[in-house]
Symmetry: C2
Subunit: 116 residues, 2 copies
């Protein structure tokens, strides 16, 4: 079965994460589950990819982290919330996506059957 290659999604992992953070602050494990379910298991972000995205985005000011205990258990989690800059970045990425899609599709044959 066709798999989504990391070279394609590369550059959109951040966007996916930010999209989910727009709804509410969240943390690694949950984000990872949400990406899986929203994509209907078509895409599974790797742990290391996810956490390195968090730290990169925090460094860039797109997200802010805070520590919070899980309800019930007193287990601590690192939550992330999106910042104003993160929202702007997300917006830019959405616009870029439209453009990218248009361009790539010029080079894609939707139902290429090997004939030419």
């Amino acid at each position: 079965m066709t798999e989504i290659s990391s070279d394609v999604i590369r550059g959109y992992n951040d966007t996916m994460i930010l999209y989910l953070l727009l709804k509410e602050p969240s943390y690694g494990y949950e984000i990872s589950k949400q990406i899986k379910s929203l994509s209907e298991s078509k895409y599974n972000i790797k742990e290391t990819t996810l956490y390195s995205a968090f730290s990169r985005m925090e460094k860039n000011g797109y997200v802010e982290s805070f520590s919070q205990e899980a309800e019930g258990t007193g287990k601590k989690r690192t939550y992330y919330r999106i910042t104003e800059a993160g929202m702007n970045y997300y917006k830019e990425k959405c616009e870029e996506w439209i453009l990218t899609k248009e361009v790539v599709e010029r080079f894609i044959e939707e139902n290429y059957n090997g004939n030419y």
Copy 2:
């Protein structure tokens, strides 16, 4: 203006090149011009990216190179033609694209205006 980032197109440069080679064998400079014109100047592949794509794809058996003199002038060019394997690869990439597009678009707000 929004620019297409290399991290997004990454992994689709090969596909674009193969698409053009499906029509007829071609060479670096021409491919680069064609990508520019087909994308309406929205995407300009870098020379180094292009030539390294050629050699990678030749190594992978997706294209074959041959030397040919330009008409008129006796100037030699390195032409590339797509192979059977290249066509299959192109086909796979097209299928992957459909999937990728579906997934990414779950995380894109077409007209996000910064409100949430």
